[in-house]
Amino acid sequence: MSQLLTVAKPRRNTELLLLILALGVSAMANALVNLNLGRTFDNDFFTQIAILSGLSLAFHVVLRFKAKYADPVILPVVVALNGIGLAVIHRLDITSGDTAATRQWMWTSLAVVAAITVIWFLRDHRILRRYTYISLLVSVVLLILPLVPGISAGNVNGATVWISLGPFTFQPGEIAKITLAIFFAGYLSSNRDLILLAGKKIGPLQLPRMRDMAPMIVAWLASVGVLVFQRDLGSSILFFGLFMVMIYVATSRVSWIFIGLALIAVGGVAAYQIFPHVARRIDVWVNAFDPAYIGADYGSFQVVEGLFGLANGGLMGTGLGQGSPDKLPVANSDMIIAVIGEELGLVGLFAILCLYALLIARGFRAALGTRDAFGKLLAVGLSFAVALQCFIIIGGVTRLIPLTGLTTPFLSSGGSSLLANWIIVALILKISDAARRPIDVSASSSPIEQLSPIDATQKEVPSP
């Protein structure tokens, strides 16, 4: 693994400029919605812009104090995505008469406050490593919660992933994404060499010892097993992908990719045979345009309407507020990408995808730059979780893969997802702060001391 050195500059002013631009994007999206739907620019509009600006500027100021060297582009990108999401949900509310936007505003505030709290109180991301096994326990508990009678919100849209907390519902699986990443990072950063080297060798394959792999298998079974019982295919794929990528990054063995793909193939075929709801999803995906499937319950109506919406949008889109997303079921969560594609067109949709790509790339960059194995693995895991989630849901909406119910990070209406993703952003910012902070050279003058610990086998020395 290469050790990248960056020029140490806080670059908080760059962040401020980009943040103002991002707030401009959100404000303009909101303004267009009001304009196109014949709404007046009432107090609500200005309060909402003020809330978003206040929250993100507060975050920016906290970064100035607590994580001076954090990556300057992550926060603006996230604020832009969140702002566009809020505008689109507001737009859908006007058509459907829902109040999802108000809830989303509340959750956004809560999520940003949570992220600020993480930045403020988490002195160093390496502290999280102490909670490796506690994270595993917390993940398992979070994943089992929706199955516990009493707090379970029951079967919602075919999946049992919600719990009800008083008037609110919450999806604990979203938080489990973070705790599982912490567990995998903590466990793999300490036991990577054991998994790699101790064990029987069969031909070219080095098999890890059972006892080194056992906690990983427990984590994997807990996440995939429970999700099979909860019938949430999307999250199941997400956790499995997270597991495979982190073990691949930790061991740098390409074989894990093939093992992972083989397991997905085997698991997919098995799930198709055993679970009727999985088989249903795949049949619906293959025969999406068959009228029998479009009309059926849990049929392909949603995905087909989404595709028609995307087609209606064309290259430039119909303009915010001028499409017809009222035809789409659950337009503000699962299908929000289809709404954006219709109203902003391919050009707008690609801008959104670019923002995601930039966000994820910055997460990987933080992982490359940081100097401890735990931080590297955690940043890769969290960024990859966001990437995979985008792929699963956007791929589902565009009918590249079967549609499974996941939220689009930062855009979809859904409080738990927003909260989890803002906490992920806070963690990545904290890791990037550690990565970009200038190294204290007074103790040692040679870069030899600053070896990246992820690569213990190959000593890195200054090239002449």
Partner: protein
Amino acid sequence: MNDLSLVVTILRFGFLLLMWVMVFSVVAAMRRDLVIGRKAKVGAPTARQARKHPELVEEAPPAKIAARQLVVTEGPLTGTTLELTGVPILLGRAQEATLVLEDDYASGRHARLFPQGTRWFIEDLGSTNGTFLGGTALTRALPVELGVPVRIGKTVIELRP
């Protein structure tokens, strides 16, 4: 009414433009960040850049004569030479060592000499009596220049061209 629809159309395209301005501003902000280390340069500086920033121009380092052999200058094995071929060398009393030192003051796996770029580095492997490079005990891997004595127990080795 017609005016309003014109404004709406302009704003519609304006918003798409603004989103892409956002994307490209982020990329532009990252561009400087992509520099890997202060020394990373793309190509040689042009004459104009050299005039403006003289610090960009670095004199070519003097051509180094690569070490070709390892010579034992003191100790029981005095006079032994070993060709350096580019593979790491393990020094110590253990039988698997590349140069087996018959020296009671050396450890089994005493030190490791390894090439990196055009230079050779010596690294102590946690020996009992330590490894000395030009008189100072090693605490980390350090480059070995030609003719600088490396002491391991009672044995002294040197790199020669």
